[in-house]
């Protein structure tokens, strides 16, 4: 790691700690448990990274990859949080959005299965996971737009910060194979991408600003309206019958 990489890494770490403190202070983590399930381990990861860099720097590389691979699947927790906040359990559009998501992810999985890895298996897995994350977020955003579901400040920042991060992962792991000149700057670029996401999250999650609750049709009101409508139709029918008799 170069000097600049260290600066960016420690900056990202500091911002992570600030964000964690804020999430705990305003108890926002209770509202976004799946997001927190991803974010809390990343803070632990960063603390461990700091300790390893200070105590056993020679272990860092091996530890980094092992930790990265175990934490990458956890990113789906953020994607799930975004989905469940945009389409809560009582939202009528949830089933349609869910079906669309399943179709897109299954299609993507088939494409991944059909296409063999183009290079080393590890970058290929990371790229594919990043693509799946990005596809997930894009589908949720598209469905939210389709159903005119407004995105609150928290979810908006969470989604776009996350999308920016996963797209950098896909881009960087592709660029790494294409341009070998990038390899010395590797740790700097990955730290920058992560820090960028933390900055976006910090701004958007500073205060609790949830999504608007969806408008759910009240069954009682609906049946009352239906009864009223039936009554009106009967009244019209009666009036017509009376008029025709005359």
């Amino acid at each position: 790691m170069g000097r600049l990489s260290y600066v960016v890494f420690y900056l990202g770490f500091t911002l992570q700690v600030v964000l964690l403190g804020r999430l705990v202070k305003i108890k926002i983590w209770k509202h976004y448990p799946f997001f927190f399930a991803y974010f809390a381990p990343t803070v632990i990861h960063s603390v461990s990274a700091v300790l390893i860099l200070l105590l056993k720097p020679q272990w860092y590389q091996a530890w980094y990859w092992a930790d990265y691979l175990t934490s990458t699947p956890l990113r789906f927790a953020v994607a799930w949080e975004i989905f469940r906040q945009v389409f809560p359990a009582n939202s009528p559009a949830r089933r349609v959005a869910g079906c669309m998501l399943v179709i897109v992810l299954c299609t993507l999985a088939i494409c991944f299965y059909v296409r063999p890895p183009v290079d080393l298996p590890l970058p290929d897995v990371i790229r594919k996971m990043g693509l799946a994350d990005a596809a997930w977020i894009l589908v949720v955003l598209a469905m939210a737009k389709y159903y005119s579901r407004p995105l609150g400040r928290n979810i908006r920042g969470m989604a776009f910060g996350f999308l920016a991060y996963v797209s950098t992962q896909v881009g960087l792991y592709s660029a790494r194979e294409l341009f070998s000149a990038l390899r010395p700057m590797w740790s700097l670029l990955t730290s920058l991408a992560f820090t960028y996401m933390i900055v976006v999250w910090l701004f958007s999650l500073w205060v609790y600003a949830p999504n608007e609750a969806p408008v759910i049709p009240d069954e009682r009101v609906r049946s009352a309206a239906l009864a009223n409508w039936a009554q009106q139709v009967n009244a019209i029918g009666l009036a017509i019958r009376k008029a025709t008799r005359l």
Binding site: G157, F160, L163, S167, T168, V170, G171, L178
Partner: protein, 194 residues
Amino acid sequence: MSYLLFLLLLAAGLFVYSTYAVLRSPRKYTATPEAVETLSRFVGLPSLDFRHASALFDPSDYKLIVSDPRLAQTAAQFREDRRRLALDWLKLLEKDIFLLWRFRRLLTVAGVFEGVQAEVAIAGRVILIVILIAGLRMSVAIAGPFAFSATASRARESVRSFSLYCATAVGRMPIYQLNALERRWRELEMGSAS
């Protein structure tokens, strides 16, 4: 190789999109019709009231005329007239944004204060709109109005959005203060006119 290049371009596109979405302000001002009415009592915005502004920048009529070589002179005259009209409208738009900014500053003094950060954001926003309009005026003066239809509608939308923001702010003022505000505003207007 081409697959990796495709992924790289896709990722770059997604990154640009997400950064744009993060930076773009999602604020929507919930100015009530009453608040908009109150604002129009103070500030007249002729550039926004002119409904056919987009037609000034629409090249379809010009294309129709210029397609006939016999009407080349008419087309040149038409283009020049449109250029002049577009410049007049842009000047009006610029005047309106300055007027709105002045009114917003008066609201701050009158008690609608949202904090230093908001004040700086307002100033920054107005400066950006003014730069946009100035750039557009210069471009229209040099290259004519027909290539800048999208930019012109964007400039109009920015000013309209700022007027809604001002309407929201004035809507938050207690009704009993509005008369005093109107008096003060008229004084300022007369002061600047003389």
